[in-house]
Symmetry: C2
Subunit: 306 residues, 2 copies
């Protein structure tokens, strides 16, 4: 059911070279292309709309769920709703990724709405990779919505990566944290050509000792445009940190709008942002080692987004 | 023409104990209460609306202009337009300040719109202090608008201070910088009671080697609310830095929304923000030296806003 193009995309977005271990649900061109459940992880298709419910039993440890999506037909537009119910005391890895191969003239678009209900003291590592390829005129559009509802003492680590080839993206992530919950976000974003990327985070710290650390690193090349919009709201005794480091290249434009909102005397919130180009000395140093200017730039960009 | 209350307010907003040296224009309760011009600095009342034109001859050095405003009548609302034309190669100090003494039941409001046309290579130090007092139910409202148009190689240093007693303020500052121009802003803001303060900066760096450094330090006490909204736009080879440090006390709320907008590969922009309460250790340290908790807090706040 999976062809060569789709296999290649699966490698890019989910590091999958074969059928994954553990639970998985592979979606290709709007259809289910494979599913596996385990004793602890159930996956059920929604009946009222497109999407799946993933239910992970309390106490499930060291298991993973892969839910990659592949679009290789030009002109396909879909909205998919996936809900994750993660029981108390779980320790799981969830890998979601979407790759679009568009060789046609019509726009292809996948909008994934992911909701995470993270039970008490559960630990979740969530990896989301977005990738586009194909030389058609049709655009590759990805608008992910991610919502996390984190109960007492839960931990979630989000790794959000847009590698390359996505023409337009509007990423919205919200998280609400109860007491002692901890959210770590690492975003890496590369835009090139005429690409347009908007990334917004709203993290609300509602419980005592909740903490959030949201760090975005991005590179904007050519004529691309990036907007980073991060909001941390402290309603309790909590700590929040958000950081946005961006490298600007060519004729790109970058707008960073971090917001800190302290509604409680015990909320400690910090923000840092820096936008700049690659330092000339760094390039010259690598060129004296034998690299061309392009190679030097590529190496610096790769290191920055690592 | 100046009574005792007005004298006291002049001391607070302009450090004036007597008639100032150099050029001045004192405005009291909507009327001119004193004016002095010099060979190099002319002050003329506008004929089409309320306000004055201040014209400083090219090359004027080490002269000052004081334009304090005093409102001691309850219920007075005024909008005043003051335009400063600062000639090339000047080096001058401009002190503007507004104090409101409101013992009545009606709101008193002064909205000052200040425009600065800063000539090539001119240096301007601008000090603006806002202060309110009086125990009436009427509010003390100050909405200053500051616009700076800075020509090549000019320098402007703005010291913007709201000491206390202003119930509501909406401060909007914009600056446009040509090549080699340099803007330094130091804002200090204290809010208490149910006060409401919004402070917005938009600094546009249009010329090569233009630079801006905007630093705000604020303390929000009691039930007060502060919003800091700072936007630096880099359209050329330029450097911009904005920083917002805020101390939150009591049931205050603080919102910081800095924006960095890089539209040029050679724009280097940095932002930092931190909101937090006074560290407990700092208070305990001062209390072991014999201060009460309130005295310790007051000393820390004063030091922070120095």
């Amino acid at each position: 059911m999976i062809d060569e193009i789709q296999k290649h995309i699966l490698e890019e977005v989910a590091d999958l070279h074969s059928v994954p271990e553990g639970a998985y649900n592979i979606r290709a061109n709007g259809q289910m292309a494979g599913r596996n459940t385990t004793a602890n992880i159930d996956i059920v298709s929604k009946t009222d709309k497109s999407g799946i419910d993933i239910r992970i039993k309390p106490g499930t440890k060291h298991e993973s769920v892969h839910i990659p999506v592949v679009l290789s037909a030009s002109g396909l537009k879909e909205v998919v709703y996936n809900d994750f119910y993660i029981g108390e005391d779980c320790d799981v890895v969830i890998v979601a990724g979407c790759g679009i191969h568009n060789c046609g003239n019509q726009d292809s678009q996948h909008d994934g709405v992911h909701r995470f209900f993270v039970g008490k003291n559960a630990k979740v590592k969530y990896v989301e990779k977005h990738y586009g390829e194909g030389d058609g005129d049709g655009k590759r559009i990805l608008n992910p919505v991610t919502e996390a509802y984190m109960e007492e003492g839960s931990t979630m680590e989000m790794e959000m990566v847009q590698i390359k080839g996505v023409d337009s993206t509007n990423r919205m992530t919200t998280a609400e944290l109860a007491s002692g919950a901890k959210l770590v976000v690492r975003e890496r974003l590369l835009t090139h050509g005429d690409q347009h990327a908007v990334s917004g985070y709203t993290v609300t710290l509602n419980g005592d000792d909740a903490s959030a650390d949201v760090v975005s690193r991005s590179v904007a090349k050519d004529h691309s445009y990036q907007k980073f919009d991060s909001r941390i709201v402290g309603n309790a005794k909590c700590t929040g940190h958000t950081e946005c480091d961006a490298i600007i290249m060519g004729d790109a434009k970058i707008l960073a709008i971090p917001q800190l909102e302290a509604n409680n005397i015990d909320a400690a919130l910090i923000h840092e942002a820096a936008i700049g180009k690659i330092a000339g000395e760094q390039i010259i140093k690598l060129m004296t080692l034998g690299l061309t200017e392009e190679e030097a730039e590529a190496q610096i960009v790769n290191g920055f987004l690592k």
